[in-house]
Amino acid sequence: MAKPSRRGERLIGLFLLGCLLFNFPLLALFNVRETVLGIPLLYAYLFTAWGFVIALVAVIMERTD
């Protein structure tokens, strides 16, 4: 397990990343009529980014080194 303080710092870093990913102006970039594998780009982006953030949290919290 990472040291609690490092863990806290990483979570805050991730929070800031999340604020960036799920906010303007970054969202406007994906607000276009494109599709990825048939799925509108904006939808694909939001869910992928969301899953990415959750995966990172899981890694931060569950790491046992």
């Binding site: 806290g8 979570l11 999340g18 607000n31 048939g38 939808y43």
Partner: protein, 920 residues
């Protein structure tokens, strides 16, 4: 066709299963083997996903694409900060036995009953729309399902009589169900493990149901998500939803505000506070929840967009409410079983929310609203009653029924004017009003009770005006003119365009104004008002919870007895439980029995905290103070405290002074040490110089003696000359040693002085005549300008004579032979007598003037010129003159001669008298 009894039986079967799970969990908890694991804790947090998520998200997505997502992304972001914020809240709540959000805020601001009550009122009113949303969802889904396989939208709620309204029965049924669920016993810790387990199970059910219908729509009706989106892209009104920012309802501002709103809701919704904080059994569970719970939200939202688009494609006429797509799509495609599963899933989402929300609200209403009022009514004499637990339970049961009925009436009044999500957002905005007081209270010690009251009132007032009243107005319950032209026709006060702020959607508009008013009032009033002692100690307790040891901050002074406290606790918790608690407390402190306990501040605190777990902090404080009369701080005691404080201050001042003294002593010691080292060095120099000066004549003597010894046949004239030299060097040696001894005596103060009145005129005359032979032999003229009009001085005649002789012999030494001229002048000056010895010799270089009075300093090139003296004469002279209080100094011009001058002070009359007396 699905018969009504099938649906009802399935529903009750499902509810029965919930009871079984809760029963099992409670049994396990009672046996000390809690089934609450990190996973169950995470799943219980999913009570966040209600009928709103289950039915409403699809409805929202069908009208503005991704507009439903901030509600889930906000919590995902917030949860990253939970590690700091929620962990602190949990720790504080455990330490203080907080039972609800109202308790938390009231407790933070000095255990204020008023504040707790206000929070309760805001929470109950604010949550009503949210509860009505659940009732609406369940009743309409029931009505739709009853019509299977026809798809008929239910009639408007207001159109049927109450007794024929499904929603009314749903409300009653849920109230009874919740009462049976949450208020069977009075738990001291206010924790309900059975409920948590059931909620976790419900989370799984609603997830399975939603994923099932999602998979059916996506892969059963259509050929995968890309097929749905592909077909939708052909329709302009649907294609628009794929890029919703800009050309749809979703503005940047509303996206951001919804995110912020849901970030606050995930903490301050009463039910979220209940499951996340009150029901938390171990802080460590958080570390799993922070990623499992967002993962749950992600999973339950994956199929929202496909279902929404699928519904729009399947019902192109638009006569089917998008909020019902989740149910109507399986029905339209004749999936009877799936439709029933969806109904059960929706039921589980709604019941989960209603159970936890109403339990949390009933705890608030009981502990923070009813109790403080009841306890103040003296005629009820509640403190004497013994059936308190039963009374508490009754209050809670009443609160649950009341909240659900109010929710129902809200549904009848305003429920039909909005879609599900819009109804829910009104509640979100209400609970967001708790954020400034609660978060401010966590990190800012300066927040005061008045500030919190002002902030909450202002925020809630704006919320009422900008969100709740328009909701009533839109449903026709209030005149619509109030909305369109403002109250009394004042346009500026239009509730949806307050002060002319247009262009924002309703929630964004309301959030901006309410948060501005709330935070502004909280901070401003906090800054302007003062904290009481109790507020201050609670503020410290909350803000510094992680840095505190077990010590409680509160000052308690008063008198009571342990048995009185135990009796009090017994009335609320039951005598057996109270005795058990006290026994455990006594054992912890090493006492044999309860009788040994002293009713000190610590015990009073202990009792208060135990009581707080049941009836809330404010009420517990009131109750304990009925038996433990806390004496108010008198002016005398305040003075004593101030006195003690000033003593401490005085003491520290003293310490400071002492330190300064020490520093000074150190500095002078240091200086003395430096001086000693300097003296030591001087001594070494002196010894080495003396040794050198002694060796020179000794070497000469030895050399001539050796010549005489080794050459017995040396010429007698030569021998005579050598012997003369030996004698001369010996004399010089003797003189040197005498002078060194003399100087040593003078310097050490051991010299013998024979002080008497001395006539300087006589000394000058004597000195000149004593050296006249020397002057004659060198052909130097000496003139003495003596006068007998000078006063006598107090001195040692021999010593002054020594000085005179020294100066004269020096003068003759440096005068040119034959042309030399030395003048001695005696004169009177203010305060004493002055003697000048002037010569016309070589003079002294300016650079040497300062050093000629030092030991062994001889002016001139010592390498080429034979030293003409010992180098000690002037040093001795200065010592002598200094001793008598005079001065010896020299003025000189190179090539034109030097003037050595010394002064001696005249005799003071008193000293003369003293001397005369001593002489007698």
């Amino acid at each position: 066709m699905l018969q009504g009894w099938v649906i009802v039986t399935a529903s009750f079967g499902y509810i029965g299963l919930l009871f079984a799970i809760a029963y099992y969990a409670d049994k396990r908890a009672a046996a000390g083997r809690s089934i609450i694991t990190p996973v169950i804790y995470s799943l219980s947090l999913a009570v966040y996903a209600t009928a709103w998520t289950f039915y409403g998200s699809v409805g929202r997505a069908a009208s503005d694409g991704v507009g439903f997502l901030p509600i889930y992304i906000g919590p995902t972001l917030m949860i990253l900060l939970w590690w700091f914020v929620l962990r602190k809240v949990i720790r504080i709540s455990k330490v203080n036995r907080i039972t609800s959000l109202a308790d938390f805020i009231g407790s933070r601001y000095g255990k204020s009953a008023l504040l707790g009550g206000l929070v309760t009122v805001i929470a109950v009113i604010g949550i009503l729309p949210y509860i009505s949303l659940q009732l609406k969802a369940v009743s309409s889904s029931f009505q739709i399902l009853l019509q299977y396989p026809e798809i008929v939208m239910p009639e408007k709620g207001g159109a049927v009589a109450i007794l024929q309204d499904t929603a009314f029965y749903v409300a009653l049924f849920m109230a009874l169900f919740t009462i049976a669920f949450g208020t069977r016993t009075l738990d001291v810790s206010e924790r309900h493990e059975g409920m948590v387990a059931a909620i976790a199970f419900e989370a799984v059910v609603k997830m399975i149901a939603f994923l099932a219908v999602g998979a059916f729509v996506t892969f059963g009706i259509f050929g995968g998500a890309s097929d749905i989106f592909g077909q939708a892209a052909q329709r302009p009104d649907l294609a628009r939803l794929m890029t919703p920012f800009g050309d749809s309802q979703v503005t940047h501002a509303s996206w951001v505000w919804l995110t912020v709103l849901s970030m606050l809701a995930i903490i301050f919704l009463p039910r979220q506070f209940q499951v996340a904080v009150i029901e938390n059994v171990d802080e460590k569970h958080l570390s799993k929840a922070v990623w499992l719970f967002p993962l749950y939200m992600l999973a339950i939202n994956v199929f929202v967009l496909p279902i929404a688009f699928g519904g729009r494609l399947a019902f192109p006429a638009g006569d089917v409410d998008a909020d019902t797509f989740v149910l109507t799509l399986p029905m339209a495609f004749h999936q009877e079983g799936l439709a029933l599963l969806v109904f059960i899933g929706g039921l589980s989402a709604a019941t989960g929310m209603v159970i936890v929300e109403t339990i949390a609200l009933s705890t608030m209403v009981c502990n923070d609203f009813a109790m403080p009022i009841l306890l103040r009514w003296k005629w009820l004499d509640l403190t004497r009653r013994s059936n308190f637990p039963a009374l508490l339970l009754d209050i809670r049961r009443g609160a649950i029924i009341g909240v659900l009925l109010l929710g129902y009436f809200y549904f009848r009044i305003a429920g039909e004017a909005y879609a599900l999500v819009s109804i829910g957002l009104i509640s979100f905005a209400a609970v967001a009003q708790f954020a400034p007081a609660a978060i401010g209270g966590l990190y800012w010690k300066g927040g005061t009770r008045l500030g919190a009251l002002a902030g909450l009132s202002a925020g809630f007032g704006v919320w009422l005006y900008t969100l709740l009243l328009p909701a009533f107005a839109k449903s026709g319950w209030l005149g619509i003119g109030f909305l369109e032209s403002g109250p009394f026709g004042v346009e500026l006060l239009r509730p949806d365009r307050l002060f002319g702020l247009a262009g924002l959607d309703q929630i964004t508009h309301a959030m901006f104004w309410s948060m501005t008013a709330n935070i502004g009032a909280y901070v401003l009033v906090s800054l302007l008002s003062r904290q009481s002692a109790a507020e201050h100690s609670q503020a410290t307790l909350f803000v510094d919870v992680f840095t505190q040891t077990g010590e409680r901050g509160r000052v308690w002074r008063g008198t009571t007895s342990a048995s009185a406290l135990q009796t009090l606790l017994g009335r609320f918790l039951g005598p057996a439980r109270a005795a058990e608690l006290f026994r455990a407390y006594a054992q912890e402190r090493g006492h044999e029995s309860i009788d040994a306990l002293e009713a000190d501040a610590e015990l009073v605190n202990f009792a208060e905290i135990q009581l707080a777990g049941t009836i809330g902090a404010a009420s517990a404080h009131t109750m304990v103070s009925t038996v433990a009369q806390e004496e108010p701080l008198g002016i005398d005691e305040v003075m004593t405290i101030i006195d003690e404080a000033s003593q401490v201050i005085a003491y520290s001042h003293k310490l400071e002074e002492k330190q300064q003294e020490l520093e000074q002593a150190t500095a002078s010691l240091k200086a003395a040490n430096e001086r000693l080292q300097e003296l030591d060095r001087l001594k070494d120099d002196f010894v080495s110089t003396v040794t050198h000066e002694l060796r020179t004549p000794l070497t000469s003597i030895r050399a001539f003696s050796e010549i005489l010894h080794d050459h017995p046949d040396i010429d007698p004239a030569e021998r005579h000359r050598f012997l003369g030299l030996i004698i001369k060097e010996s004399e010089r040696l003797t003189r040197l040693i005498n002078q060194v001894l003399d100087l040593a005596k003078l310097e050490s103060g051991h010299a013998e002085w024979q002080t008497a009145e001395v006539d300087l005129n006589e000394i000058v005359t004597d000195a000149v005549s004593a050296t006249s032979q020397l002057f004659k032999s060198r052909g130097v003229v000496v003139e003495a300008h003596a006068t007998d009009r000078v006063p006598k001085v107090l001195a040692d005649r021999d010593r002054v004579m020594q000085v005179m002789l020294n100066l004269l012999s020096n003068a003759v030494k440096f005068c040119p032979e034959g042309k030399g001229r030395v003048q001695v002048r005696l004169s009177e000056e203010p305060g004493g007598v002055r003697i000048d010895v002037q010569d016309n010799g070589v003079g002294i270089d300016r650079e040497h003037l300062g050093v000629i009075f030092e030991k062994f300093r001889q002016v001139g090139d010592t390498l080429t010129e034979k030293p003409a003296g010992t180098g000690l004469g002037l040093a001795i002279c200065r010592q002598i003159i200094d001793h008598f209080g005079g001065r010896l100094f020299v003025q000189s011009e190179p090539g034109r001669g030097s003037t050595f001058t010394f002064t001696l002070p005249r005799i003071e009359p008193a000293a003369a008298a003293g001397l005369a007396m001593g002489a007698r």
